[in-house]
């Protein structure tokens, strides 16, 4: 499996990470190497195998649908790079 530069750029865009031209070159090689290596899984016949969806056998727990927490807007915005009156201040999203 060969990852080309266009693929690196597409993936980086999906992941919202800026990559420089130089980095993109290095990543082509590194990602190809790792993806080639994981391809050995193709040797395993999994045609009759269910994918794992939970690690430990236990029933999903249910809880009452009630409010257990809240009224802590000041705590929630306490670490924001920019906040005003308990609102997050973000770059303009809608023109």
């Amino acid at each position: 499996m060969q990852v080309d530069e266009a693929t690196v750029r597409r993936i980086a865009r999906l992941a919202r990470i800026k990559v420089s031209d130089e980095e993109a070159k290095g990543l082509e090689k590194e990602l190809s190497g790792i993806l080639d290596w994981v391809k050995q899984l193709d040797e395993v016949d999994t045609s009759a195998v269910e994918p794992m969806t939970r690690v430990v056998d236990q029933k999903l727990k249910m809880r009452d649908d009630v409010v257990t927490d809240g009224e802590i807007a000041d705590l929630i915005t306490a670490n924001a790079p920019m906040a005003e009156d308990n609102f997050f201040v973000v770059p303009k999203v809608v023109e």
């Binding site: 990470i17 590194e30 899984l41 794992m52 670490n79 973000v90």
Partner: protein, 499 residues
């Protein structure tokens, strides 16, 4: 007065009970050691002396009043992946900047409710991604152990403490705390424990709450302790484990008294030796370590059985699909809007991209990209779904093995501690560090590393025990037999204390 920092946790507990020293004296001894020794090791990224002294004074009051709790007045280090209320928590990444959580992790809360004293936050690989603690935004952690050359002289070359819990393993081995919290996604408790001569246990998935621990790969992450002895690790895990409504994957089952299991021995215990772990090119010293472990358990009355775990070789490649996939999803939250770093760009997307490029280190970026790729349209079935099917087979290997054995014995790592830069240039070489540990995470089982001997270079080697789900007690009693036979391994010379 004897050097209090050299005590084990259970010895320190006895000393406090007998009032041989106070919790404040004990805490101050560690704070002095951190002052002197942390510069050379870089195990702590944030010592919290005032916080520690306040907790220690509270403990002294409780001890005086006769209502001491299980870890009353015992100073520990806390991996920087655990959120601490009002105290900076970074996962050793620039992207969290000077994030100060407004809540405490459940594991942390359990420890403080048991009376433990927090000395500070410990270094780790960025977001727990690494096997050598070379990816931390706060720089490398140094292993207190040093190699001996063929002339018998100790080299001053710096060795890695393992990772990702490298601050935890280094601090425990260097007597900069009695024990430490740690987390393990592919081997991050057991591998650093093996490389530093300490004891580390990753309990069964679900045994400890993951609430308030910075997430890496949620179906694999699990908290556990690194400690000086098997008994100390039993004390720590008992306090850390709990059912927690805030983590739906935490298990609603009683937490046994692990210390009570320690003396039970291994008479009649069936120990499995998986033939697939005898990998090509295994060094003779790792082979000897394994043989020693087998001999010790045999002479204590256990029976030894060769078993087969046929899908072992596929665990690591499957892990490097599942873990990056979950990481890319978990780390999507770092967008520069609600907490942590923000680097302003020309528009919203540019701000996201610049923030994440500046905030994440190289290995973290690499894993996010791999994860994004294997989850992207057209590749999901070929990679992610395939890996989760292989994972079912890995778990089935163990389920079948439990029909004939009670516990599995393997080496923890393929080699002893290595030097900085020795593996960091090649991601695949670094990933192979976890070859013996990662199956345990994929199957959700408990695994433990116990010091078993020294390499030809005089550095520690670890033996790994793997148990049935929620059967940590068998690991503890088996580990105690190994510790009794192998002895404890302390660093011969405290060079880091000499400035």
């Amino acid at each position: 007065m004897t050097d209090l920092t050299k005590l084990t946790m259970s010895e320190a507990r006895a000393g406090l009970q007998k009032k041989s020293f106070t919790a404040l004296e004990l805490t101050d001894a560690f704070l002095t050691a951190i002052d002197k020794g942390n510069g050379a090791l870089n195990a702590y990224v944030l010592p919290t002396p005032e916080h520690a002294r306040a907790q220690a004074k509270e403990s002294d009051k409780r001890i005086a009043a006769g209502n001491a709790r299980s870890l009353e007045g015992l100073p520990i280090g806390n991996k920087d992946l655990f959120c601490t209320n009002g105290i900076r928590t970074t996962a050793c990444s620039k992207i969290l900047d000077d994030f100060k959580p407004t809540y405490e992790s459940t594991v942390g809360l359990n420890l403080w409710d048991a009376g433990a004293v927090m000395l500070g936050k410990l270094n780790n690989d960025e977001f727990a991604m690494g096997s050598s603690n070379e990816t931390s935004a706060f720089g490398n952690v140094v292993n207190p152990w040093r190699r001996k050359g063929s002339d018998g002289k100790t080299s001053t070359d710096k060795l890695v403490p393992g990772g990702s819990s490298g601050g935890s393993s280094s601090a425990v081995a260097a007597n900069l705390c009695l024990a430490a919290t740690a987390t393990d996604t592919g081997g991050s408790i057991r591998q650093p424990a093996a490389l530093t001569g300490t004891v580390g246990i990753k309990p069964t998935y679900g045994r400890c709450s993951r609430w308030g621990i910075v997430a890496f790969a949620s179906s694999l992450d699990q908290a556990g302790p690194i400690a000086k002895t098997v008994r100390d690790s039993a004390m720590m895990l008992k306090a850390m484990a709990s059912h927690d409504a805030k983590d739906t994957t935490s298990v609603d089952a009683p937490v046994p008294d692990y210390e009570a299991a320690l003396g039970k021995g291994v008479k009649g215990l069936r120990v499995g030796i998986p033939k697939e772990y005898r990998v090509d090119g295994m060094s003779s010293e790792i082979q000897k370590l394994w043989d020693d472990g087998i001999a010790w358990l045999k002479s204590a009355g256990a029976t030894i059985h060769e078993i087969s775990l046929p899908h072992t070789k596929y665990a690591l490649p499957a892990y490097y699909i599942v873990a990056p996939a979950e990481c890319s999803s978990n780390l999507a939250r770092y967008d520069g809007m609600r907490y942590g770093l923000r680097v302003n760009g020309d528009n919203l997307i540019d701000t996201y991209e610049k923030t994440r490029a500046a905030g994440f280190g190289k290995e973290v970026r690499r894993r996010i990209l791999i994860g994004t790729y294997v989850l992207s349209a057209g590749y999901y079935d070929a990679y992610y779904l395939k890996a989760q099917k292989v994972r079912t087979l890995i778990k089935k290997d163990f389920d079948d093995a439990w029909n004939s054995v009670d516990v599995v014995l393997t080496p923890t790592t393929p080699s002893p501690a290595f030097a900085f830069g020795e593996k960091s240039g090649d991601p695949l070489a670094m990933y192979l560090e976890d070859i013996f540990t990662v199956t345990v995470n994929m199957a959700g089982l408990p695994g433990m590393s116990i010091p078993g001997g020294l390499s030809s270079q005089g550095t520690p080697l670890g033996l790994q025990l793997i148990g049935k789900p929620f059967d940590e007690e068998t690991l503890f009693r088996t580990a105690q037999v190994i510790e009794d036979a192998a002895g404890r391994f302390a660093v011969p010379d405290a060079w880091w204390m000499k400035g």
